[in-house]
Structure formats: C-alpha cells, structure tokens
C-alpha cells in the first residue's frame, strides 16, 4: 500500500507545479460559470414554474461544477499511458514489483486531484461572495454534508474506474480513439455537462441517472445544492458505489487479461 501512496504523492507534487496553467484555466472557468448563471437566469425569468430545481441549487451546481471540473472531466486522458501500451514502453512498468492497475489508479487519482486542488479554491471563494441566488450557497446540514463528501469520493472512484477501464482496453484494441470520442460525448450529455440531469426530458433522464455517467458529477453536485436529498440521495450514492466497484473490477480484469496476452516487440 505504501508504494502506491508514494506514487500518488509523487504525481500530486508534480501536478501542483503547473501554477500558471491553473491560473489561466481559473479565469476561463469563472467566465464560463458566469455565462451559465446568466443563461439560466433568462430561463428563470421566462417561466420559474417549469424549473425542475431551485435557482440556488442550480447556482451551487454550476459553481461546484466549474470548481471541480478537472476532477471529473473525461476529456483529459493521460495520453502517455495509452501510448505506453502501444509502443511497448509498458514493459518497463511490468518489471516493477507493483501491480500495474494499482499504480495507474494512484497516478490518475493524484493527477485529477492536484489539478483541482490548484483551481477550486479561488472559484469557491469568489462564488460564495456572489449574492443570492446566483452564488454558491452553503445551506447544507451535517448529515447531508457527510453524504456529499462520500459521494465526492465515490465520484472520483467512478471517474478513475471508467478512465482506467478505457486505458486497459488499449491492451485489447489497436486504437481506443473512437471509444474515447464516444464516451466523452456520452458523458457530457448523460452526466449533466450539457444541462443538469433534472433538465433532461424523459426517458433520457432515467437512462442518464442509471448509466455510469450519471454517477459522476451529477450526484455530489446535486446533494450539495439540496436538490437531491433524503432517500433519493442515499439511493444515488449506493448506485455510485455499485458503479465504482463494477468499473474498477472490469478494469482489473481487462488489465490482467491484457498483460497475459501482451506482446512486447522491438529491442
């Protein structure tokens, strides 16, 4: 366990070096958040009764989404992991006395967390200062907050589980590009990136919430806003746990069978 933790720490520290990039990304995300808020304000003025979630809950959703974007954004793939399988550099990794999947997991988690750790604080701070109902509101009780934290952790597990399953798939497919293109688009639509899940029409909303993508940003962001509460919230977190275990299990299986049949060519 200790060696995976060291990998995690190593990557975390490496990720924390990109401060200028984080600053640039930060301003983009602030503008993005403001535009989203203004957009939904127009719809709120149009017809507040047809809003499927409260305005404050939606604002919190938008700001948390911008703050945590780098944790759950599927479009950020670690290209060198994929190429290492293709060009055979993976052989070096296989000689190490560590489990490949465990190492990849530590690495991916650290990368996603470090990118968010740099960006999220200023966004959270600024969005808390924005007046109601357009800012981030902390109206959450302690039990719900604990559930939010659990859900946040499970989100990371689901996202990393999914991403690693795709990396492991590159042992079996020549080119995972197509699969990745499709999954990014599906995650955007079904995960609550295009519009939050309550805004989707039925039956797409149901499909989205049971799909693995619905167990990503959707659950913690809505628990924090108070839109997803009580027994529904607990159900959603349970489903997250199921997807986390399934995806991680699938990834481990794919990696194992992949390593077994992997052929390293060249000298």
């Amino acid at each position: 366990m200790k060696k995976y933790f060291s990998f995690f720490r190593m990557r975390l520290i490496a990720g924390l070096q990109y401060r200028t990039a984080a600053l640039a990304g930060l301003s983009t995300q602030l503008v993005w958040g403001c535009m989203e808020i203004l957009l939904y304000r127009a719809f709120w003025r149009e017809c507040p009764e047809r809003f499927p979630m409260g305005q404050e809950a939606l604002s919190s959703y938008i700001w948390l989404q911008q703050a945590l974007l780098t944790v759950f954004a599927l479009w950020y793939w670690e290209q060198d992991l994929i190429t290492s399988v293709r060009d055979g550099t993976i052989a070096y990794e296989l000689t190490r006395p560590v489990n490949l999947y465990g190492m990849w997991m530590a690495r991916t988690m650290a990368m996603r967390l470090s990118r968010a750790a740099l960006r999220c604080w200023p966004i959270l701070l600024i969005s808390v200062l924005i007046p109601s109902p357009y800012g981030l509101r902390i109206r959450i009780g302690l039990p719900a907050f604990l559930l939010f934290l659990i859900s946040l952790g499970l989100m990371l597990a689901v996202v990393c589980g999914f991403v690693l399953a795709v990396y492991a798939l590159s042992f079996h497919l020549v080119d995972t590009n197509g699969f990745r293109v499709l999954s990014v688009a599906a995650a955007d639509l079904l995960g609550g990136g295009v519009v939050p899940l309550p805004f989707l029409p039925e039956p797409l909303r149901t499909i989205a919430s049971v799909s693995p993508f619905g167990s990503m940003q959707n659950v913690p962001l809505r628990i924090f806003g108070g839109d997803l509460a009580g027994i529904d919230a607990i159900r959603a977190v349970e489903l997250q746990a199921v997807w986390a275990v399934t995806l991680i299990g699938l990834g481990i299986l794919l990696t194992r069978s992949g390593i077994r049949k992997a052929e390293i060519a060249g000298g």
């Binding site: 990039a21 983009t28 203004l38 127009a42 149009e46 990014v184 688009a185």
Partner: protein, 260 residues
C-alpha cells in the same frame, strides 16, 4: 494569383495527409460533430421545457446558432495555423518563415489546416437551412444579404480572434488559455443571442469583441424587431481587424528569435 494557387496546393496536401489516416480522420470528424450536436441538444431540451426564452423560439435560435457555428468552423478550417502558432514560435520555425519570399500570415495559414471541421460546418449548414425554412423570418433580398453578411463577417471576426491569439504569443511565448473565452466561449455561448445574457454581456460583445454585431443586432432586423440599419452592422464588425492587425504588426516588429 500565384499565391492563391499555392494556397490551394497546400490545401490539397493537408487534405491528402488527413485522408492518409481515413479512420482517424472520420473519427475526428465525428468527435467534432458530437461536441456541437450536444450543444444544440442542450438548447433543444431547454426550449422543449420552456417554450421560448427572451422572446426567441427554437427556429430563431437555430438560425442564431447556425450563423455562429458556420462562421467559427470556416475560420477554424483556414485559420488553424494560428492555433499552432505557439509551437511554430517555440520551435524557432518563425525565423524560417521570415526569410522566405512570401507573406508571413500566408505561410502560417499554410502550415496547418483542419479539414475535419467540415463535419461541424455541415451541421451548421443543416441548421441554417432549417432556420431559414422554418418560417421564423419573412425573407426579402435585404434580409438574405444580411444573413450572408452575418456568416461572412462572422468568419472574418473569428479569424481576427485567432490572429489576436497568435499575436499575443509574441509576448507570452505560449498559448494563452484565456483567449478560449472568446473563441471556444463564443462558439459555445453564441448558441443563444447575446442579448439574453443581459446588458453587460451585450455591451461587451458589441463594443469590445464585436460578436453581437454579427449575431444579435442583425438578427433583430431579420426577425423584424429592429430597423433595417441593423442589417449593416456585420460590416462594422470588420473594424475589429484594424487594431488586431496593428497589434500583429507590433508583435512581429518586436519578435526576437527563440534561438536554435
């Protein structure tokens, strides 16, 4: 004349390169298409729920988004070289460009082109046709000309934004992600007329980065909500090129090689 011929030679070369990896070309086409289709679906879902926003219905919004999407794709297809400009600079390739007997901008444009945005442009055309025929606008010759001006001036405007991005690289030596607010952001948030985001955004997009001049204001004329003079505003947006070109010249004059 020779320059144009040469440009098409380069275009053919880039097309050939893209076609050499057909599978990957088709995939990136699909990828481009899926992103902007998702954006459109987002508009559709919200409009199905709310019926209209700020007085606009789906056909009008489709027209609005198609103008932005089409002009952005056109600019992106030909102005792709600017996107790669940080790499040209840091690889010291710009020195080579300077000594060749052709225009600087021309050479940068020829370095890289992006044929895969054709899928996005196709989506723009389909949406444009739907927007034109869906009965939102009572067409006259003046309105048709305005629409053409919106798309053409829009692509020139996006082209200017890409040029600005490249010019900034002379001073930062790397791509500035902040510029994405105006390029990707304009494509993303141009899905609605800039007026619905409120007065602040409308003024910024009118006076500073004149995106509303090719989208919001002429749209008012098309929908009979404003005087015909609004139909001339796309031309006015071309003035944006003057400071951008001046800035580019300033950047070139201040260029110091990045060495080896």
């Amino acid at each position: 004349m020779k320059t144009i011929k040469l440009y098409f030679r380069f275009l053919a070369v880039h097309l050939k390169t893209a076609m050499a990896y057909k599978g990957s070309f088709i995939l990136s086409c699909i990828g481009q298409l899926l992103i902007t289709t998702n954006v459109f679906l987002g508009v559709k879902f919200l409009l199905d729920r709310f019926g209209s926003v700020g007085g606009y219905r789906l056909p009008e919004l489709t027209l609005c988004y198609s103008v932005i999407l089409l002009s952005c794709s056109l600019a992106e297809c030909f102005g792709r070289g600017f996107d790669a400009f940080p790499r040209i600079l840091s690889g010291a390739q710009f020195d080579r460009i300077l000594v060749r007997p052709r225009g600087i901008i021309f050479q940068i444009l020829c370095q890289d082109m992006k044929p895969s945005v054709i899928s996005r442009a196709a989506q723009g055309v389909v949406m444009l046709v739907y927007g034109i025929t869906a009965g939102a606008v009572h067409w006259t010759i003046g309105k048709a000309l305005t629409l053409a001006a919106m798309v053409l001036c829009g692509s020139v405007l996006f082209f200017g934004l890409f040029l600005l991005y490249a010019a900034l690289c002379f001073f930062t030596m790397e791509g500035l992600e902040v510029m994405n607010i105006f390029t990707d952001g304009a494509r993303e948030y141009g899905k609605y007329p800039f007026g619905i985001y409120g007065k602040g955004v409308l003024w910024i997009t009118t006076l500073i980065v004149p995106l509303a001049l090719v989208q919001y204001w002429p749209l008012q004329y098309l929908l009979d909500r404003g005087p015909w003079q609004y139909g001339l505003l796309p031309m006015l947006s071309l003035l944006f090129l003057i400071p951008v070109c001046a800035f580019w010249k300033f950047g070139v004059a201040h260029y110091r090689s990045t060495g080896s």
